[in-house]
Amino acid sequence: MEEIVQHLTPLLDQVTGYIYPNEIELHWGLLVVIYPYLTGLVAGAFILASLVKVFNVKELQPTYRLSLLTALAFIVIAPLPLLAHLGHPEKSFEIFLTPNVNSAMAMFGFVYAWYLMAVLLLELWFDFRQDLVTMANESKGFKRLFYRTISLFSKDLSEKAIAFDHKAVRVITIIGIPSAFLLHGYVGFLFGSIKANPWWSSVLIPIVFLFSAIVSGVALVILLYMVITPLRNKVVDMLCLDKLASYLFYIMIVDFSLEILDFIHRVYESEESISILASLVQNKLFSSLVIMQVLMGMILPLFTIAAVKTFKVPADLRKLLYFISAILVQVGIFSTRWNVVIGGQLFSKSFMGLTTYKMTFFGLEGLLVSIGLLIMPFIILWILIKILDPWRSEDAALSTPTTGQ
């Protein structure tokens, strides 16, 4: 008893107005913020990859495989924050054994599995099959067995087989686009369908989530491409980078418009929750929403890229501005997730008071674990790049690097 009081007393100092006792402490913390952030990056990176295969945007070819591998590296880690938050990870597979069609969260397991197994892994397998067979043929011992195994002991390198690979990749990508929309739209749906929470309950939430996901995915691939290319001793393809920045710009405009629409809709509807939500935005979420999400994460990068597109900016400065914009976008989208997840729990269901979120450093729900979870996809991506060598055929084809300015 005394322990609970000691725990809640410092939080009570931060409470303003009236809140119910079980609202003092937040139930969903930093880990639940990371989860939609990571799945958003997956969906965004995949949509970017699909631009190359479905919409035939040739300029983005250098980032195609990187986007797919990024999506895979992040989707592997995406469920971990949820497992860490819920506890008992050993029980998680039970949602597949005993499917509960009445639970949106349980059904999400199938959406996730479909996306991982039927879309990402399959597309990667078809895209890398030729390389895997070649690498298996060129290596010996354990390495050869490894490549043979992940190529599923495939051997056919005939023109017909390779043409079939290309065709399969295209078909899977076409199926993959709605699947990626479903994956992150579903995350938005989980929040948007909670009708008791006016901050979440909105039919626009899944769509806003989806577009913010694409924004974050494109920005992440820009960052990765700009970091990895010099590490490979190659020159960044400016045509590709300009195209990436253009797509980032256009999708951000759509995303921003949707968020503004959501905002205007809420203000115009002016339901009974509007005054507490206004208070939430003006007080508890002011820095994370107004400053970080809107000003730093949206308006500043939009103006920067618009300025780059308007004025003749030298390539080096362009690279710097794109890099800074992409980082700002990441900060902005992370803040978006924060404002949805944490913001939605900061006000009382009585609409009469606000509480606060106290983040811990150590512990399963703490900052340290969260930082670890955010770093892990990059380690996995590094391993995937080492194993699959995504630029193998490109390097073989090009004896000298192109600048493409």
Binding site: T9, L12, Y18, L97, L152, F153, S154, F164
Partner: protein, 249 residues
Amino acid sequence: MNNWISKIPEQIKLLAVVVTVIITAFLIVRPMLIPAGFGEQGHFRSGALNDAVAVQFKYAGKASCVECHDDMTDMLAGGYHKKLSCEVCHGPLAGHIDDPDENTPSFPRERTLCPVCHEYLSSRPTGFPQIVSQSHNSLKACISCHEPHDPVPPDVPSQCSACHGEISRSKAVSHHVDIECEFCHTTPELHKTSPRQYRPSKPQNREFCGQCHTKNSKHNTKAPRIDLATHETRYDCWQCHYPHLPEAR
């Protein structure tokens, strides 16, 4: 037939094998992993009900305390804390019922527990005793002045604000700041010791406010004036104006 199979690309054949293996493995393993009793009574393991029944009780309930501590529970029943369960302050006591010597209740003596309910919060009900703990005898334990089983102020309050903190704070920033509570409320002396039995009066008609706010009033000349005969005659004043903060809308 063979010709037809040979036309299927190698990739599809290999993937078909993998998919078949995964599905077969899933179908074989699934019945082994589903817990016994699942689905018998709903979408859950029926044994979970027995697990829930087997969970050890931690709270004994007030009725159990009465059996030995009737002096305390009698005192509690006559006071303002009569609706509180003993375990709200003393913690879960099922273990104490089983073995009173081994498991002793907790006796909170710090200043942290009482403010959970009694720290000033503007949204708490009017008349609910509230303090600002940092300025309210900040070095003393609550129980050194208040008996928690029959909590009353150690001294009869001399000012209304002792209990009506929210009203006094609102009035302090309003144009009615200089009006004494007694001007509008006639308060029996016994209200200070038995506030719920002896309640203060409240103004009953429009004319009361009209003393200051009609056109012809001879009181405070700065007060806003209205014509009572024409100003929203279907309503009482307090239905639109909060008397303790008339500026509020």
